[in-house]
């Protein structure tokens, strides 16, 4: 989509002007506006945005206090005693062969009752004529008008159509700080219909709560279980978010460490000191790993010994008691119950071979009964005897303890020794002045080492947290599972609830599917956007590049990676950053299907002279695929740029002021 024309009346520095951004059958769609600072470049940008969205995002502080209406026109009208003033901006846009006219007006009354006549703001009106090439274009008002504009120039990503140059180079810093307010993500969600899915998700969840409540109202304990489940699920959700953040942070730190390690490895042999440091580092690492193992062994020893020692007295006393009972014959004999039963069945005594008399039958029956009662105690005591005997062996406690503690001490001594050596060398390195001898390789190596240490510290802390969070999560999930089982039990017992229960299961199932779809789509779009931004960037960048990959985080903030593996957005030149911003913008246009124009105010203000002609050719190139409107200051519109543009067809409008009162067209050159 493009802007065909902009007509402005009484808006700020403009009194009555029309800009035609016509495109004849030309290969490029490039339009250049040249004007001194303060003449009206930014006012044009603001006028367009005011017309489309009703606000002026590029207003400087000094202009904020001035009225929207042209103050000279106001003076003229005042002098003639006129009662009102109209501000009007009309933009004609076109897309897919259809043109639409957008008109915003604001009416002001001139109030003469005051000491000094003043403008009093009245109503503001937005009108859209749809399809103006048709005989009777449809007229849209209010939200319908807004909706049509949103189809072509989505308000939430407008900063990717209308730029000022400052914004272009500080693009990513800002994006990172504010996390874009997630506007990009939101509009991608909206365009890919994920927003609808999320809405469904929300509504299904709310319906689910209703069903659960319904079930709960009928059986109060269900309500309680449900509340418990819900509470835990919320906690799990929070934990998952935290875990995710930590993992991302660790991933970053890992990458940072890796690239510094690559650097350090490259420097092997350069410095004996650093080589020694590295050697000590790996020795220290080994000992520290061993220390963890020894500590685990010690803890296990403490656990086992606590049990043995604590139960020692009781076990010994019980054993004595059992032995005493045994010796006194108080324990009933252990008789094989099977033999008794079999004897009874076969009517023959299996021990002596004689057939059973009715008297001996009766005796055996009694014996089996006694056996049932007393053998429990007998069995228990003999079982006790067997398993207690091996728990009362405490002989090795002292020597085992000594062994482990010795091992720990030796290990700790080694660690201390290595650490001391490391610190000594580190101290000599840290004595180097930092500023003056920046080139000193040892300084660089030292800084790299210190950096690694800091990152490792961060990872370590993160891992601790991660362990805690994960185990909390596991516990909560277990609890949730138990509660769900319990719930199922209760619900199944309550037959009446079958229908509600079935609905609950069904909704839960559908929610799972929907969230899977959302996840996949969002991951895919992000990957697509990463790839296409990098593709654009590598295609557009003029100098030999060493960029390898590009990553977007969950909120679509960007990281650019050097082929050495480190992030390098910070060290890019203004021109490269601007280029990256363009690449990002173009791929956002692709992804969101908003193949829109780019209006850039002072695009080269931060770009150094030598890069300007390259940048200009990039822009010229992009103008083959979409409309580009550039507003230059005369110094920006330098010879290098002119020369580049002179090879291609483009429109040029030069602006000036009429006695500093009104912006007028000084020179117009159409292709």
């Amino acid at each position: 989509m493009r802007i065909d024309s902009v007509k402005i009346e009484n808006y700020r520095s403009y009194k009555d002007i029309e800009f035609n951004f016509l495109k004849k059958e030309s290969s490029h769609d490039l339009h250049v506006i040249v004007a001194q600072n303060g003449v009206g470049k930014t006012n044009l940008l603001n006028a367009i945005e005011w017309c489309l969205y009703g606000d002026e995002p590029h207003l400087g502080n000094e202009k904020e206090s001035l009225p929207l209406a042209n103050i000279y026109v106001f003076d003229e009208l005042k002098n003639c005693g006129k009662e009102s003033l109209n501000v009007k901006v009309e933009v004609i846009i076109s897309a897919k062969g259809e043109s639409h006219k957008i008109r915003r007006t604001r009416k002001f009354n001139i109030d003469y009752d005051l000491e000094k006549p003043e403008l009093v703001q009245l109503e503001e009106n937005l009108l859209v004529w749809k399809n103006i090439d048709l005989p009777n274009p449809e007229l849209l008002k209010d939200t319908f008008a807004d909706d049509l504009i949103n189809v072509f120039f989505r308000k939430d990503i407008r900063r990717y159509f209308f730029f000022d140059g400052e914004q272009l180079t500080s693009y990513f810093e800002k994006a990172r700080d504010s996390k874009n307010d997630n506007k990009i993500k939101k509009s991608i969600m909206s365009l890919s219909q994920v927003e609808i899915l999320e809405n469904i998700q929300k509504r299904l969840k709310s319906t689910l709560t209703d069903y659960k409540k319904e079930a709960g109202d009928q059986v109060p304990c269900i309500k309680k279980i449900n509340t418990n489940i819900l509470e835990r699920e919320k906690k799990v959700e929070r934990l998952e978010n935290d875990i995710n953040e930590i993992e991302i942070s660790n991933e970053k730190a890992d990458k940072e460490i890796e690239k510094k390690n690559v650097f350090l490895n490259d420097q092997k042999g350069v410095s004996a000191k650093i080589d020694k440091l590295n050697e000590l580092d790996s020795k220290l690492n080994l000992e520290q790993t061993q220390r963890d193992e020894i500590l685990k062994e010690l803890h296990r020893f403490i656990y086992d010994s606590t049990l043995k020692i604590a139960f020692y007295k009781a076990s010994r006393k019980s054993l004595k008691f059992i032995d005493k009972q045994d010796a006194a014959g108080k324990l009933p004999p252990a008789i094989d119950k099977g033999i008794l039963i079999e004897s009874l069945n076969s009517k023959n005594c299996l021990v002596c071979g004689n057939s059973l008399t009715s008297e001996s039958k009766l005796n055996i029956e009694k014996l089996i009964e006694t056996y049932n009662i007393s053998s429990a105690a007998s069995n228990m005591l003999s079982k006790l005897k067997g398993s207690l005997e091996d728990t009362i062996n405490l002989q090795n406690f002292r020597s085992d303890k000594g062994k482990i503690l010795d091992k720990l001490k030796q290990n700790e001594d080694k660690i201390k020794k290595y650490e001391d050596e490391l610190n000594t060398i580190d101290a000599t390195l840290n004595d180097y002045p930092t500023e003056e001898s920046k080139n000193d390789i040892e300084i660089k190596l030292r800084d790299a080492r210190n950096y690694i240490k800091a990152q490792e510290g961060l990872i370590k802390q993160n891992l601790l947290k991660l362990g805690e969070y994960n185990s909390n999560k596991v516990n909560l999930t277990k609890e949730i599972d138990c509660l769900k089982l319990e719930l199922k039990d209760v619900m199944e017992k309550q037959n009446i609830l079958n229908a509600v229960y079935r609905n609950i299961k069904f909704v839960e199932k559908s929610l799972k599917i929907i969230s899977k779809i959302i996840n996949e789509i969002m991951t895919e779009s992000r990957n697509k956007m990463e790839k296409s931004t990098l593709d654009y960037f590598l295609k557009l960048i003029w100098k030999e590049h060493s960029y390898e990959s590009l990553k977007l985080d969950d909120s679509y903030s960007m990281e650019l990676f050097h082929n050495k593996g480190y992030t390098c957005l910070g060290s890019c030149s203004a021109a490269e950053k601007a280029l990256l911003a363009l690449s990002y913008t173009l791929s956002l246009h692709d992804l969101t299907g908003q193949n829109s124009l780019l209006f850039i105010d002072t695009p080269l203000s931060r770009v150094s002279d030598e890069n300007r002609n390259f940048f200009a050719s990039v822009i010229a190139d992009i103008s083959k695929t979409r409309q580009i409107i550039l507003a230059f200051t005369p110094s920006e519109y330098s010879n290098e740029v002119k020369m580049k543009f002179n090879n291609i067809p483009f429109n040029k409008i030069e602006l000036a002021t009429n006695n500093e009162k009104e912006t007028i067209k000084k020179e117009v050159k159409y292709v």
Partner: protein, 63 residues
């Protein structure tokens, strides 16, 4: 199920939905119909949702 839905839901979502509900046409139809309702925009969504859930979950139970 009629084919009206495929006009409303974009192909990407449709494709993934087909994948995730390969063995459960009933569930697929349910999600599509609810999607349909969502696009049409119903003010009293709860009633719509509940009647759809009840209809489809009953069918699922019968199956």
């Amino acid at each position: 199920m009629n084919d009206n839905h495929s006009k409303l839901v974009n192909s990407n979502i449709q494709e993934k939905l087909n994948d995730f509900t390969a063995n459960n046409k009933n569930m697929r139809d349910f999600i599509l119909e609810i999607f349909d309702q969502e696009i049409k925009g119903s003010a009293r969504y709860k009633n719509t949702y509940k009647s759809l859930i009840e209809k489809y979950s009953e069918q699922e139970g019968v199956k």
